[in-house]
Subunit: 274 residues, 2 copies
């Protein structure tokens, strides 16, 4: 599956950087705290300063739910701000939802219709009918959790099944045969760069979202070696190392510099593709 | 692990019924729609009419998120109403969250601290460190998804691992050895009554939450045969068959009758325990 929005952004910006908006009120510059909606203001300034280098933004929903009704309003404003000012940029609601059909449908309506994100992260544990409702909207996509970047990925995702495949491989292989699977992309943790090679073989045509370069310790060069080819179906997320690069008045400029640094490294890998 | 709150309610009410609050604005009596907060008003009347028979209430978070900021306020009011008027009744936030540590911590704060629910449903896919933050609060509990009641449970949960156990058995066995595992209870789908027997053997001392009698088609007698013993560590949820039993002015009374009917059947099984 080719996603025109993602693909044209990668070509135009020579970047496959997604900026994660894990906005923690305790980590943003104190000078914003006197404003009406510091979370939105912080997001707006980060978006304004980094959008030359970012092809996608990924708000982490937990950080908004943490502020209850006000958090929902901030999230809504961020989504509207992105859709109005940067409609060409891809948006990902990092919500990791997944439930029985009628309940998944509710979550799908919230994030893909009401909040109008382009995509949402979904947990695969409850199987096909828990994911299908998220695949029922035109031009909306799912990032299915396959292999995550945390230590706990060893507990179940990396276990071997009776057919010798690992659970995360089974999740990818099985879901790639589901109805509307052309709308499924995969979350693949950055600590497992060799696994990315394996996954690339199972789903050569699927976009992979790799979280965790920067604070979570992933290595950009290694990830690109295995995950990036001429089809350009790789998105790499960085959150904390960009948005919290500085907590003073120049935070937006410093975030911009950090994003640019990553973009330039990405450009060098893109230039090497034959 | 013995949960005093749950245990004493089961003894007192001769019931192990949890009423699921999957409150769909399109299904509640139209006469409530003119009120300021129809969702809260519906929940309040259902709680007032069924609390003689219910030992727990389980709001389904998706149905509140569907209403954005207003939905959060309704959920907050329901939690406060339950904690103020029925502090002896156990509450379950059916949220099915689970993410990397710092993000799970955010979700845990929302549901177990800010909204002050007694427990939350959590997805196991991301492993131990994604669940631990939910286990770090005093007197707060986790219902870990093990075997769910939907068709998609076959896709991954029921697959066989290299050691011949199924994935859901592995989830239960592994998590029962985690730190703070005395605070973990399990969600076990009602369509698999024989599996409940197996699970009971793996975790003889854990509470099992069985969703889906009524609308999801589970059979109460069968579930009790395998899941209920003298330790009384079984909670059975019913949502739609109680709360939507009627959509006219007498909905609360009809819901009460339905809850009572289930309680009486439960009482008969409790009486047979030696």
């Amino acid at each position: 599956m080719l996603n025109n929005k993602i693909h044209s952004q990668i070509i135009k910006k020579k970047s496959f950087l997604c900026v994660g908006l894990d906005i923690d009120i305790n980590k943003i510059p104190r000078l914003l705290l006197t404003l009406d909606d510091p979370i939105f203001e912080f997001a707006k300034q980060i978006i304004d300063s980094t959008n030359d280098y970012a092809i996608a933004y990924k708000p982490n929903i937990a950080f908004f739910e943490a502020h209850g009704a006000q958090g929902y309003k901030s999230l809504e404003k961020i989504s509207k701000y992105l859709n109005s000012n940067f409609p060409e940029i891809f948006t990902i609601a990092d919500a990791k939802r997944g439930d029985i059909g009628n309940t998944s449908q509710m979550y799908a309506n919230v994030f893909l219709k009401d909040l109008d994100f382009d995509s949402i992260t979904v947990s695969p544990y409850m199987g096909s009918d828990s994911v299908q409702p998220f695949l029922s909207f035109k031009n909306k996509y799912v990032f299915l959790l396959a292999l995550t970047s945390n230590k706990g990925s060893e507990d179940f995702q990396e276990l071997t099944m009776s057919n010798s495949a690992k659970l995360f491989e089974t999740v990818i292989r099985t879901s790639s045969r589901w109805k509307n699977s052309d709308k499924i992309m995969y979350v693949v943790g950055a600590k497992n760069t060799k696994e990315i090679k394996k996954i690339r073989k199972i789903v050569p045509n699927s976009y992979l979202l790799v979280p965790g370069i920067g604070a979570q310790g992933g290595n950009l060069k290694e990830i690109c070696k295995f995950g990036l080819d001429k089809d350009l179906k790789l998105i790499i997320n960085s959150s904390r190392s960009i948005i919290y690069a500085s907590d003073t008045h120049d935070f937006a400029q410093i975030a911009k510099n950090e994003a640019k640094k990553i973009q330039m490294e990405m450009e060098s890998y893109l230039n090497k593709i034959k």
